[in-house]
């Protein structure tokens, strides 16, 4: 639960994964819990040889002594018995009972879960309905019912708590086993003629063991608490035997005269359970990192900007003017420079394609413009983004908010995940309208329906009340476009809006975007990995590689005669209709990892015409002609 980010990250940085124990210790809270638990367990183990009075010897003359009096460090109870001695003996009982209950629940529950998950079908059904039935009872009530049947007593309380906890194990383990028994290695074992028990305990069990351990470590504190509770009610340990719960129960009668008799065992239960919970959380974080809450950093409203250098403000009438934009992600000590200095201008109404392989930094560039890159781990470290004459990297969150969806609108890739699943599409468009225009609900609704019609959604009025999951992929993307158009934006940033769609739907959506942009005069920055899409839609194209633009120019010119070797390779990858024999060159090699960029040209490793001087120094994006630029020291010329 309490995942300390600093220590956790340190552990991840090491090349090999450190031992689980080291990871556990690296978490400060778990380490503290472990220390505390170690002390308690050591005391409990040593109790028989410690110089303590017999916990059951009564001495009425010495009754209800306050702590610290007469050699009774924690005082005495109503029968004059030494409380320290009773506390330690009681702790022994409580730990043994809690751990035993956990073991019984874990063994029985895991066996049920393994059997149900592995056998499947009818056995699974019968077993799990039984488990459901047990879970239909309120937790403690069932334990009470079982004690009522078996009769009060510590052992019976232990059984009751075990039975009540069996469902947790059975359910968790069944889910895991169900997944595992469909996997290849289980099939392989089956084909090799191994018997079911051998497969179950030899192949499946080792894989679910971490889950069993995690479930145990997170429930053992709970079970100690519950057995103490039953003893407190007088249904567990019976005198003269005592556990922490029954001591507390006896002390309750003396609450007003001698509070220490009940306070002390309570403190012990609390400290014991808390230390176990701390260790349990630590174990869970180590064995099941997906559940670790600290790993899920939630992004804030806007990307953090920490600029070392701010470039001069350009004198331009462009809708968007980007100068030396740099964005990086930091995880642990590694810094991924996703965007490493991008310059880009968009004139009013202009459509520019930003092309590159996945990981080239094109989407991060798009998101950086209005600071939508998640922080943590993203930070914008340099550059200037001028929209509407102002540097948006210096703007307040509120100014950004007014720009977002207003003058500048986004359309994202996968419309299924980008639309909110719990609101109707109408509500979501109305929200976009009302975020920027002071309209009444009714007016905004009318506008939303009009927008749905504009993106050619048939029977817009009926679709207004549809939820995203009720629409097809193409319809959903149309809704996203309608939402982007809500406030007549000057600039639409479309981040791979057609990638998640079928080819025929892609063409429709592209046609729609082209028509709308022409009709409305909005500039479009279109992020894609597909040159075919670019040639359909864009006036100019910018090619990105390893976080920087390597070539930019009018679409036709670049497509006809690519100047950068990378651009040429990229265009060669596009299949052409009617030329089935054309060789589809996949580009050999991989882009360089952006946390370890080489000096010189980032493409050098994969370049067919590389020379030693390519790797020597930074290569600038130099003009090739008046409307084209390329980042290469020996670009292909028209003639080549």
């Amino acid at each position: 639960m309490v995942a300390l980010p600093v220590s956790g990250k340190k552990a991840n940085d090491r090349g090999g994964r450190p031992s689980p124990f080291k990871l556990l210790i690296a978490n400060r809270l778990s380490a503290a819990g472990l220390l505390l638990l170690g002390i308690i367990v050591a005391l409990a183990l040593l109790t028989p040889i410690l110089p303590l009075p017999d916990p059951d010897i009564t001495d009425p003359a010495q009754r209800l002594l306050r702590p610290g009096v007469d050699g009774h460090l924690l005082g005495t109870d109503h029968l004059g018995r030494d409380l320290l001695s009773r506390l330690l003996w009681g702790t022994r009982v409580s730990i043994v009972v809690g751990v035993s209950a956990t073991l019984i629940a874990a063994i029985v529950g895991s066996l049920i879960g393994l059997t149900a998950g592995y056998a499947g079908g009818r056995s699974d059904n019968v077993l799990m309905r039984g488990i459901d039935l047990v879970m239909a009872f309120p937790y403690i009530l069932l334990a009470l019912g079982i004690v009522a049947v078996l009769g009060p007593g510590l052992l019976n309380a232990l059984y009751a708590i075990s039975i009540v906890n069996i469902p947790f194990f059975a359910r968790n383990i069944r889910g895991m086993t169900l997944g595992l028994s469909r996997r290849e290695f289980v099939d392989a074992a089956r084909l090799s003629g191994a018997s079911h028990p051998v497969i179950l305990f030899g192949d499946v069990l080792p894989n679910v063991l971490p889950t069993i351990v995690v479930t145990m470590s997170t429930t053992v504190g709970w079970m100690i608490l519950e057995t103490a509770g039953l003893s407190f009610l007088g249904l567990g340990a019976q005198p003269p035997q005592a556990d922490l719960g029954s001591m507390l129960g006896e002390g309750r009668k003396l609450l007003f005269t001698a509070p220490h008799v009940s306070v002390i065992p309570g403190v012990m239960i609390f400290v014991l359970v808390m230390s176990i919970n701390l260790v349990g959380d630590g174990i869970r974080d180590v064995l099941d990192p997906r559940l670790k809450s600290g790993a899920l950093a939630a992004p804030g409203a806007a990307t953090t900007v920490k600029r070392e250098a701010v470039p001069e403000k350009p004198a331009t009438d462009a809708v968007l003017s980007v100068t030396d934009l740099r964005t990086q992600f930091q995880t642990g000590s590694r810094v991924y420079k996703a965007v490493g200095g991008v310059d880009l201008d968009l004139a009013p109404g202009e459509r520019v394609g930003l092309v590159g392989e996945s990981g080239s930094g094109k989407s991060v560039t798009a998101l950086s413009l209005l600071r939508l890159v998640p922080t943590p781990p993203g930070t914008i470290t340099a550059g200037r983004v001028v929209i509407g004459g102002e540097d948006q990297l210096a703007a307040s969150v509120d100014k950004l908010r007014r720009l977002r969806g207003g003058k500048v609108a986004y359309v994202f890739q996968d419309p299924l995940t980008t639309l909110h699943p719990l609101f109707t599409v109408g509500q979501q468009i109305v929200e976009a309208v009302q975020a920027h225009q002071p309209l009444s609900r009714r007016e905004a609704e009318a506008q939303a329906i009009e927008l749905l019609e504009r993106v050619q959604i048939p029977s817009a009025k009926a679709r207004y009340n549809a939820y995203p999951h009720e629409l097809s992929g193409g319809m959903r993307q149309r809704v996203c476009i309608a939402m982007a158009l809500a406030n007549d934006p000057e600039l639409i940033i479309a981040d791979e809006p057609t990638t998640a769609l079928d080819v025929t739907v892609q063409a429709q959506v592209l046609k729609l975007m082209r028509g709308l942009s022409e009709q409305q005069g909005s500039a479009v920055l279109f992020i894609t990995h597909d040159f075919g899409v670019v040639s359909e839609l864009c006036d100019r194209v910018a090619v990105m590689y390893a976080g920087r633009i390597v070539e930019i120019g009018p679409t036709e010119a670049v497509l006809d005669a690519p100047a950068h070797p990378y651009t040429r390779k990229l265009i060669d990858c596009v299949p052409v209709l009617g030329e089935p024999d054309r060789r589809l060159d996949a580009i050999e090699g991989l882009p360089p990892p952006v946390d370890r960029l080489p000096t010189g040209c980032a493409f050098a490793e994969r370049c067919p015409i590389v020379e030693p001087r390519c790797r020597e120094g930074d290569i600038a994006l130099d003009p090739l002609s008046d409307d084209r630029s390329v980042r290469c020291i020996k670009p292909y010329r028209m003639a080549s």
């Binding site: 009530l141 049947v149 509770g229 009610l233 509070p259 992004p299 909110h420 699943p421």
Partner: protein, 314 residues
């Protein structure tokens, strides 16, 4: 929607029947002869046999079950021998008191759990987050019966602000204010663990949701951050929070056993503990059945609420 609720209602019938089988089996499993238990160990064999046939205990178990179930439908849960009154009367009277206590706790833990969880998630890694995380750890590790004792010592004995026990004052009691004063400590004590559990889960659910693409979409269209958190993120998080609140309903109903004992609250939990000690098994049977059935109902409510929030489940 209504079709779904109907379906869900029908689906809970087998669960209720299963519960009744378990509760009936529990009592049938008990070693010893109820007639002997009632008449005492000096009873003559003839008298025992006569009582056994009077109670229908000489019939086969399956037949006994259906007779018992038939009586249950008519509100007949048998008679408590220790209290000498019908079990149903006693159980429902006590259950009312438990519902007041459990309901108040459920309201408290939902409100504070949600607020703490959201606050922690929104300021992840900040001070609020650390304080909430720490309090959650304390909350889930505290034995509620002990916390109750501490509260009594502080608020009833030391400060004398609140009454230490009972539901109404014995002299001149009654009225909602008196009830509220008596309810405050037990309801808070009972809510502590559940609040911690809900806060922990709400935090995790909010953090998970805040990373989703649709939250980025909301920000990209210029929705205010307040609205992003409380409308977009919270509604999505509710889908996984509601079932946990349903589980807490069961937890609070069960945990009432401790709290009612500590605060002498005249609810069904304290009745059960006494009935177990006096071996008044019909009373235990009736009590367990009513509480378990009400838990099924709470879960049904949680399911319906979840369906209202999430249209994909309809």
């Amino acid at each position: 929607m209504w079709i779904y609720i109907g379906k869900r209602l029908i689906a809970s019938v087998p669960i209720l029947l299963g519960l009744s089988v378990i509760v009936f089996a529990m009592m049938a499993l008990i070693p010893g002869d109820p007639a002997t238990a009632i008449l005492g160990s000096y009873a003559t064999p003839e008298n025992v046999a006569r009582l056994n046939s009077q109670l229908g205990l000489d019939k086969p178990l399956v037949e006994q079950y259906f007779i018992w179930l038939g009586k249950l439908f008519h509100g007949d849960m048998g008679r408590s021998y220790a209290l000498n009154r019908p079990v149903a009367d006693e159980v429902f009277e006590r259950f009312g008191a438990t519902l007041i206590l459990a309901g108040a706790s459920l309201i408290l833990c939902s409100i504070f759990g949600l607020i703490a969880g959201i606050a922690a998630a929104v300021r992840q890694f900040g001070w609020t987050d650390r304080v909430v995380t720490f309090l959650v750890l304390i909350g889930i590790s505290t034995p509620s019966f002990w916390l109750g004792l501490l509260l009594i010592m502080l608020f009833a004995v030391e400060l004398q602000w609140l009454p230490a026990s009972g539901m109404y004052a014995i002299y001149g009691g009654g009225g909602p204010l008196d009830l509220l004063a008596h309810l405050a400590m037990p309801a808070v004590t009972l809510a502590v663990v559940a609040t911690a559990v809900i806060a922990r889960l709400t935090r995790a659910a909010m953090l998970e949701v805040l990373r989703q693409d649709y939250i980025r979409t909301a920000r990209a269209k210029g929705v205010s951050e307040r609205r992003v958190i409380y409308r977009h993120a919270f509604k999505a998080a509710l889908v996984s929070i509601i079932p946990v609140i349903g589980i807490q309903a069961g937890f609070v109903l069960g945990g009432a056993v401790y709290i009612e004992t500590v605060f002498q609250w005249p609810g069904i939990g304290r009745m059960l503990v006494n009935a177990i000690s006096t071996r008044d098994l019909l009373l235990v049977q009736g009590g367990v059945l009513v509480v378990a059935a009400s838990y099924v109902f709470f879960n049904l409510l949680a399911d319906v609420a979840q369906t209202i929030v999430d249209p994909r489940l309809r």
